[in-house]
């Protein structure tokens, strides 16, 4: 569906995006992830044909963005960063304008507009001027603008920024819903969002692709399978001797001393083994009461930080 081949974008001598390549298949929901200034928006702007790349090719549904811009652009619905809108139009007028400039067939135009207004939940405000709408509604109007013209691909630049938690969940479920019928690319710096919605993540840092994978794989890649957290009541400080009792322990580290007298330790094992069973039985033998015992689970956050930091070093 989308083919990005060795694309570079330079501003004078400054390189915004350097030699990125990836391909996106039909029906995928892809998250573009990266810290601020990583090149997410630049990449999206190039995909939508808003700016031209310095080098490389972008192919949208078989059409080269530079050679056949009209056809390529027809396949894309774009919701730009910061939801730019014509604030002196009403919601319906805006959607209608978008339908017209996207050359939606005149016969079905009205019906399509109605469908989109319905789908994005704008029915009750369709006659209001956009400038009088709340941020959440503006976001939906922008989304409606992107949906007009039944594009195969939706490109959403930070679709949930500036929304309250309720609106965020609403927009997320809308994106999920749309993902069933569209190929979606969204950018975000909220990782939990990406792991919830997307089935593929592209992590960008400093204009380069750091990783492309599924959220699960990325989490697994950096997960510490051999690390457990244990909270114990241990007035005699016997835990420190446990390192000798259980041979597989590589590292034992006190993390916090809670107010109620319990202590939390991080225990790392030698090699790839699960220590929990061992700890449970051995600690009991020593009369150390275990309050909590859990495997350290890594999140996409960890993966992200690890990859980004790795790139910075």
């Amino acid at each position: 569906m989308i083919e990005v081949k060795h694309v570079t974008k330079k501003y004078g001598k400054a390189v915004a995006v350097e030699d990125i390549s990836f391909s996106i298949k039909e029906g995928e929901i892809v998250g573009l992830l990266g810290p601020n200034g990583a090149g997410k928006s630049t990449t999206m702007n190039m995909l939508t044909g808003f700016i031209e790349q310095t080098e490389g090719d972008i192919i949208i549904d078989g059409y080269d963005m530079l050679k056949k811009p009209k056809k390529a652009k027809k396949e894309i619905g774009y919701m730009p960063e910061g939801v730019p809108l014509y604030t002196d139009l009403t919601v319906r007028e805006f959607v209608q304008y978008m339908a017209e400039i996207k050359q939606v067939d005149k016969k079905t135009r009205k019906e399509k507009i109605n469908q989109i207004i319905e789908k994005t939940g704008l029915k009750e405000v369709e006659k209001k001027l956009i400038k009088n709408l709340s941020r959440g509604y503006k976001q939906r109007v922008s989304m409606a603008g992107a949906l007009v013209g039944t594009p195969k691909i939706l490109i959403l630049d930070e679709p949930t920024v500036g929304l309250d938690p309720k609106q965020i969940t609403e927009i997320r479920s809308l994106i999920k819903e749309l993902g069933k019928t569209h190929t979606v690319i969204l950018s975000s710096h909220i990782l939990s969002e990406v792991s919830q919605i997307c089935n593929k993540v592209i992590i960008i840092n400093k204009g380069k692709i750091v990783a492309i994978d599924t959220p699960e794989n990325l989490e697994n890649k950096v997960s510490n399978n051999n690390c457990v957290y244990v909270t114990v009541e241990d007035p005699e400080n016997k835990v420190n001797n446990m390192k000798d009792k259980i041979k597989d322990i590589k590292k034992l580290e006190l993390i916090t001393e809670n107010e109620d007298g319990t202590k939390q330790y991080m225990i790392e094992a030698q090699g790839d083994i699960d220590l929990r069973k061992n700890i449970f039985s051995e600690f009991a033998k020593e009369n150390i009461t275990i309050f909590e015992l859990k495997k350290a689970d890594s999140t996409l956050e960890d993966a992200f930080m690890k990859l980004i930091e790795g790139g910075n070093k």
Partner: protein, 226 residues
Amino acid sequence: MWAVIKKEIKSYFYSPIGYVFIGLFLLMFSIFFYTDVFNYQSTNFEYIFYSGATILTFITPILTMRTIAEERKTGTEQLILTSPLNITKVVIGKFIAATLIVIITEACTFLYFAILSFFGTPHITTALVTLLGFLLLAMSYISFGILASSLTENQIIAGVITIGFFILTWFLPQFSNIFTNFSLINLFSKFPTGQIDIADTVTFITFTIACLLLTVIFMQRRKSVR
């Protein structure tokens, strides 16, 4: 392109800009109408348009300064430039919309013609030629205004560039005769006498097309440097 024209016209009248332009023009035009007609006891409709051209020189930026600069500032240019719509069509659409506002204004001036025909017999063909010349002048002004608007995202700067350029070309002939044909307002001067000068007409049209073309080129170029 029709969509752009429609939207621009709507914007002109949803915001006060359209009313301000037409109102301001007619207000000043009325003042000149009063002084010309009553002071000189003339029923000459055409000559008021010399003053009309002066008014136009100063108020054209009201129409044009926001056209592209505002889209750039608010980011809505992303919406049009990522649509299948051609940049040329966008620019021409905006140009036609602004020109239509001038045509509406011109239509309003027929009221003065009606008043004059009540007291005398003003010449209708000369009046129409004058209006044609005025429209050509307005078109060149608007196209330059749009060009200025495409150079910056600040409306005020766009407006100042526009007025500055008009005033410069207005007074250039006073420095040297070489510049006589560079003055847009001078090119207009023959129309109120009832003659359509082909050279002047062609100059107006060429200037208009050149400005619009440059606007398109600048916007196209910004794609690779933005």
